[in-house]
Amino acid sequence: MKRILALAVLAVMMPSGSISHLDSNTPEVVARHQAMMFVGAQMRVLSQQARGAVPFNSEQANTSAAAIAVIALTFPHLFPEGSIVGENTDALESILENREDFKVKSEALGKAASDLSDIGSVEQLSSGLAALGQTCRSCHSLYRK
């Protein structure tokens, strides 16, 4: 009883509110999530090698880099007019107003990934990967919630 009374005292001092998440994935949102997850998985392959968690393997690294470069080509096409809607997209509508910049940034990602596709040492991989990650971030900082 005392516990309830004390809670009541606290209750009047606190605001109320609740948050709900709506599940409303559109095909475009699904496509974007899958593309981003794919790139993320390849980045992980590269990063594990660069950080020494697994031995450096230039063939595997080249494959992952090439795969990222290919997916980067799709990015400008994954955000068509009217597709940046719903609770589950983190994309900002400013992508639509800055199409050209978004395309330039996607190309920079592709270029950084291509630059990695002929690496011979873990040191090259580390510096190239840091540059590649920076291109991801340059877009995330501007065009993601």
């Binding site: 009374l5 001092m13 980045m43 990063s47 950080r51 840091a130 291109t135 900082s141």
Partner: protein, 288 residues
């Protein structure tokens, strides 16, 4: 109303008697333990202390001193983290080990003042006493900076500090982390980091109407703490790779303007891959 208050206070007093004091906490340190600042440096980075307490060097925003830090803007007002350099007048230089444990575990200052849970002692309380004493040893070695603390600017009723004492009786459990024997060492290491030092739930767990983290849905996405702020996303049950990328600056997954980026940097630059992987193993094992 007076009766309610009297009952509440008498109950609170009874309840408070059952809680440890900082001297008892110090007794919980392992026998023949000697604090090590090198180990404490890792605790510092796992604990994300710099995220709030670092006064950034304008030339290089990832460096600075621990003499205050960010303005923590919330719907209840603005919190100003204090100086945690070893300056004896304005920092924590005069603190004993007991004082430090009292702050980190009990959420109480050496003068008996209750700290606001914007300082995440609700998570730190589960840390091992050894880790906390190592952390103190590390902080003691930092450059002392003389800079007075700024008072929080909170609106009523949040500026009634004594109410925090009451809040703590309900929502601040002083329980050391207990490993789950049916899980691997890696899982338990991850659980320890996430739930204690890493204080991931502070942002990623929804809060109840008393602003305490909800036990029933840990890491299922945070509550917005200020109008218009984007709540931190759900991290329970995420894919292993997604979690590891969020902890790796090279992945580019977390943007520089996200509050998470400081955590990403700390894990990328100071935390072992084994500890990052342990965090991912634990979080990905939880239901979404």
């Amino acid at each position: 109303m007076v009766a309610v208050a009297a009952l509440t206070l008498s109950w609170a007093w009874l309840e408070a008697r059952g809680r440890p004091d900082s001297a008892q906490l110090l007794d919980m340190a392992p026998s023949e333990f000697s604090a090590d600042s090198k180990r404490g440096e890792l605790v510092f980075h796992l604990g994300g202390c710099a995220d709030c307490h670092l006064v950034r060097d304008p030339e290089n925003p990832w460096f600075g001193t621990l003499a205050g830090g960010i303005r923590l803007e919330t719907s209840f007002g603005t919190f100003f983290p204090p100086n945690i350099t070893p300056d004896s007048a304005t920092g924590i230089g005069g603190w004993s080990q007991e004082d430090f444990l009292g702050a980190m575990v009990l959420g109480t200052g050496p003068d008996g003042r209750h700290y606001y849970p914007s300082f995440p002692y609700t998570s730190y309380a589960g840390s091992s006493i050894a880790d906390l004493l190592d952390l103190k040893a590390y902080l003691d070695e930092q450059t002392p900076v003389e800079l007075s603390n700024v008072s929080h600017e909170l609106r009523f009723p949040y500026n009634v500090r004594s109410a925090i004492g009451l809040w703590k009786l309900f929502f601040h459990e002083i329980e050391p982390f207990r490993p789950n024997d049916s899980r691997s060492d890696e899982w338990n290491r991850g659980a320890y980091i996430v739930n204690t030092l890493g204080h991931c739930g502070v942002c990623h767990t929804p809060r109840n109407r008393f602003l305490a983290e909800r036990d029933d849905s840990p890491f299922s996405g945070g509550s917005p703490m200020s109008p218009g702020a984007k709540p931190a996303p759900a991290i329970a049950g995420l894919d292993n790779t997604e979690i590891l990328n969020a902890l790796d600056e090279w992945s580019g997954a977390v943007s520089e303007n996200s509050p998470m980026f400081l955590v990403t940097l700390a894990f990328s630059q100071h935390v072992s891959i084994a500890d990052s992987e342990a965090v991912a193993v634990y979080l990905s094992s939880l239901g979404p």
